[in-house]
Amino acid sequence: MMRGFVWQIALTLVLVLVGAALEVGAAQGTADVWPALGVVAVAALLAAAVATRPLTEAVVLFAGAHLGAWLLLSGITGHEGQAGASFYLALAGAWLLAWRCVTVLSAFKPTSRQAAAVLGLVIPVIFGAWILIIWEAIVRGAGIPFLLLPPPSAIAVRISASAAILAADVNQTIFKAVVAGYAIGCCTGFAAAIAADRFVFLRRGLLPIGNMAAALPIIGVAPIMVMWFGFDWQSKAAVVVIMTFFPMLVNTVVGLTASSHMERDLMRTYASGYWQTLFKLRLPAAMPFIFNALKINSTLALIGAIVAEFFGTPVVGMGFRISTEVGRMNIDMVWAEIAVAAVAGSVFYGAVALIERAVTFWHPSIRGG
């Protein structure tokens, strides 16, 4: 029984007790934190009691932490800015329970693959959820004006209310500018890399320049591209092309040297020509590098297109929306746009990573050997 009282649990109980004591003496009219205090205290005691069975303990902690948080958040809604010390103490208690829950879960060594995958997902999701919970609780509890920092719930409402606008922005920025720029930039970078591979002189000249370009604030060409190619998506695509060209060039050139001497000697013993060796040996061996560039570029492309829109667009686009809504202090719309950009970025990256898994299934980093 005693070994169940690890420091998170013990501290939780202390916080709850202090919170209860403060709440007894507190003035009426503030948010009701009693249910949350009760849930957190019960969950902490229960968790300590079942500490010999980690799975049960984790479930109890999970339920207690999130039920407590939910009670706190629903209690404070409508009473913004009226949170007393006991509110934050209860929140801290619930958070400690979640921490303990993550610690217990992290100690699991699941044997089956599915269980490991679920665990690998649940743990970071709990962490992410608590960032949102704490954000929501502090904004509402301290009564920070939504104008400055809207809580996640308000951002979610804004996203669903402005779905049409957001969809139009995604279409303009991602499906026009990013896709076109990414495709052109990656293809030209790849072609330049093949050329650099054929001609040693070109490689020796291009590689240092390409490496240096990685450090330069290339994004700064955005206003110039807007002048050259106009306000519409073509200028953003041009920025994306420039930003994605060099990573692709450098990675492909390096990747083409990834095949071993022995493998290249093998091709020589077959009297294999340049293109045969390229397609049968060197390009497949370079694939992990090429995909690395494709992944780096997926993020760069999005950044390039959005930032380029800060310099002028037609009245649609994610960067345009961000810069104008910032000007009007519609911060919830800005956050909505950022949330969409984050999801789009992750989906883009994830899609490239999935294709990578399929193409480079043989690579030790993928096959896990």
Partner: protein
Amino acid sequence: MDRLRDKIIPVTTLLALLVVGWYAFAVVLNGPFQRDLDRRAGEVPGTLEFLVKTWSQPKPTLPAPHQVAQNFFKTTFTVKPWSNRSLVYHSWVTLSSTFVGFIFGAALGILIAVGIVHFASLDRSLMPWIITSQTIPILAIAPMVVVVFAAIGVTGLFPKALISTYLSFFPVAVGMVKGLRSPELMHLDLMHTYNSTRPQIFWKLRVPASIPFLFASMKVAVAASLVGAIVAELPTGAVAGIGAKLLSGSYYSQTIEMWAALVAGSLVAVVLVALVGIAGRITDRAMGGRPA
């Protein structure tokens, strides 16, 4: 000798070709406007005269290299460094927030990496988010951060440095996690045979092993930090800094100024990355690393 053949000659050749191409491109881009001007003035310039004219417009579509160089030289060396027209001043403004942001970002990244390496729960819960957040166009929040801070009365260095911090902490955190985990199992086992404590393993094995990773990731971080500072300067109403210079240039079509600002930004980037590289080499030498 080999260095000359393998690096210097090819690079300078390509750069020379770039400059030639730039001049040619300037003719192509500035030509139509120049032809228009000439037609209105009723002039029929010779080919050479026409070329020179396309390379000396006051607001060209693409300024010729020498125009950018002249402007860069003028705004760097001939005006007082603290004046609003000086590129040194604008570079300094950007550099200061880059630097502050980078220092905090690197420190934060190292701290988080140490935490991740030592606590399984942090590794399992935080690491996936660090990796995910690298796939997100974080730079998009820059204008909002600046404006929101301005709304509560915080302006100047702090919001910009905050964005730089945010951008530079990711690469350092990821690189340091990799570095602190880079010691081989055999070395770790060796430390275990000495019955050494965790701090001993950390200071005597993990930290030295992570140094190359630290400097490699700091090179990336300092470049990201600079980009963050420049982009954060875009919405400040164009007061000072390389980003502000770019924005005001784009408002008034002062293309030459914009290119000069870009050159300044690139120079700052090269210098910063080189400084980190030199620091890395000095550290490596002090730690008894083999000269490469």
